[in-house]
Symmetry: C2
DNA sequence: GTGAAAGCGCTAACAG
DNA sequence: CTGTTAGCGCTTTCAC
């Protein structure tokens, strides 16, 4: 194993350079207010000794960590199967990098993990947290609230303590759903079904609400429960075909499950969009474009949402604000959505 | 934003419980050697104040962090597209959780990230590192070596300083490749091609070597370069069909690219396995089983490799060993592979 | 068994 | 400009 070596301290560097610890500290942290010759001597000593500041010691006094936790309340298998997270992470990553902050990814699978994560956050390892994919029964918001770490949520958190004043970034799920359904109506479809997402998440609930806004008096049999996965989409589509064989359009809660729905429709010999029009949600390019037929869908700017979350968090950190700052009028940022027309509807 | 609160310190708890800091510390860390009534009083004070130990302060003295970094030297998009990482992470995660250690995921995309990651590791945030998916020109091994953090590599690291004594876990890539090719030979195939992985990674090189071990004097035109992605597999398969239309079998460096190869074969009207037998590598269940036809492949125990990596790291940490410990006879653990027969070969 | 005291390595006033 | 001096919050001898 590449071994542990006892690293040199500031003291050692100071001794070697023949200056005080304070001077070394100044140089290491940018070197303002230190005269050139000294700076050079110190730099050289740092180099020779291979000095790297001990973050624990530094954090202890500065209370900064230059690291932000991203918490995803979803099992690895799902996180890694769904490009949604990848995109969002990419946005976050770019923004954090620009601010010289390290991204620390924390995945939680079970309840025990929640406690561990909460301890980690409260333990002061990071300057803030970005939290995703909360579920109905999730104790995380409460735990995080208790941890007292500045937090921005991805998606409107629906439950838990401190949720009222929570800062979050989301897309206009309800409005997007309405757009989707109206698009189908515009195509002349009348028997429009909906395959929901996991209804323990606000995004799924909001999209369902949007569907209902437009289809107020539709047959309840036209709504089938999915869970945002392709398998869930398949299951739901089968149910729909059984209950309402006359269905002529379906709005699916996300692109990934739309894939499953398309598969089932093909299996049953229904042509898309001739027999059944299909519209998804997310506009996950690799999925929507590769689908057969290419998927019409509601676009949300996933990567941009990631960037925005990171930016909000960092801004909040910067001004030293927190619970004490004046509560912003709106604590949630909601990004608009647009229908992207391809072949499926 | 859920705000920053100034958390109570040990001191505060001690005051509240009417004991010394030392006693609180003992209770918080297990409570041996403290009499019951005191333990109770302290516990209550901790509860009431919502005390959580400050990790920075603790690490500063203990030099432990109860956290392990997992470094993946691959852009997010690939990491999240390839179930390989998900499986390995799952293994690691389980093992670390069992040892009460936090998993910290660090993704690196470009060269700047490498430096950032190296700084993070050297800065003493974690007790050790698990590093994956190294590429030829990757400065990471050297940087990590310099960081002096105990490290276990996933896959044999081929390059960089300190690589000779590096601890790693890998599967028998070369042997597995030989098994694959022999399996094809056993099927009576004679014009056996190979689609390589990204040849800047040792696993791809080793698999190519294994192929050559068996097909020593095969036409070089039977080897096409891929990159472990489906797109790469497609491209390589097209090349092969062009160069050697008489190809009757192909050993693909991993299941993901085999998917691409299958698609191209289908496109060209070649039946699998009748016209062309296809064998993959990895046995990524969701992929191999869903493929059409289901993919015969070389199985490696990915999740188990993850577990093993974590276990090796933790063991190394436990005995306080490192560079100073006696060098183990073999610093690499190589797991066996087996051919899993399905329909494609 | 419990408390007092000495640091872990660093930064941040404050003097000089 | 540079050095001296206090701690940050915690663990850990070492006395009692």
């Amino acid at each position: 194993m590449t071994g542990t070596v006892s690293r040199p301290t500031l003291e050692a560097v100071a001794a070697r350079a023949g200056v005080s610890r304070a001077t070394v500290s100044r140089v290491v942290n940018g070197g303002d207010g230190v005269r050139e010759p000294l700076v050079e001597r110190v730099r050289q000593a740092v180099e020779e000794l291979g000095y790297v500041p001990n973050q624990a010691a530094r954090s202890l006094v500065t209370r900064r960590h230059d690291a932000v936790a991203v918490v995803i309340a979803e099992p690895e298998t799902r996180v890694f199967a769904d490009p949604f997270f990848a995109l969002q992470l990419r946005g976050i990553s770019k923004e954090l990098t620009a601010h010289d902050s390290q991204l620390v990814l924390l995945l939680t699978e079970g309840r025990d993990d929640h406690v561990r994560v909460a301890r980690y956050l409260a333990g002061g390892h990071v300057d803030g947290a970005l939290v995703f994919s909360l579920h109905l029964d999730d104790p995380l918001p409460g735990l995080i609230h208790g941890a007292g770490v500045p937090t921005v949520f991805g998606g409107r958190p629906g439950w838990g303590e401190g949720v009222r004043e929570a800062v979050y970034v989301d897309c206009d799920n309800r409005g997007g759903a309405r757009q989707a359904v109206r698009h189908l109506l515009g195509l002349g479809r009348t028997r429009i079904a909906h395959i929901t997402g996991a209804l323990d998440q606000t995004s799924a609930v909001d999209r369902l609400d949007g569907y209902r806004d437009v289809m107020a008096d539709a047959d309840p049999a036209l709504v089938a429960q999915g869970d945002f996965t392709p398998a869930g989409g398949e299951r739901a589509m089968r149910e729909l075909l059984e209950r309402r064989p006359d269905v002529d359009a379906v709005f699916v809660a996300n692109d990934l499950s739309a894939l499953g729905a398309l598969r089932v429709l093909r299996e049953h010999g229904r042509r898309v969009p001739e027999d059944v029009a299909v519209i998804g949600f997310d506009d996950m390019l690799p999925i929507a474009e590769q689908a057969d037929p290419p998927l019409t869908t509601v676009r949300q700017e996933i990567e941009e949402m990631g960037r925005l979350m990171a930016r909000l968090l960092i801004r909040g950190l910067g001004d030293g604000a927190g619970a004490e700052g004046p509560v912003p009028e709106s604590s949630g940022v909601v990004l608009p959505t647009t229908v992207v027309r391809r072949a499926s509807a």
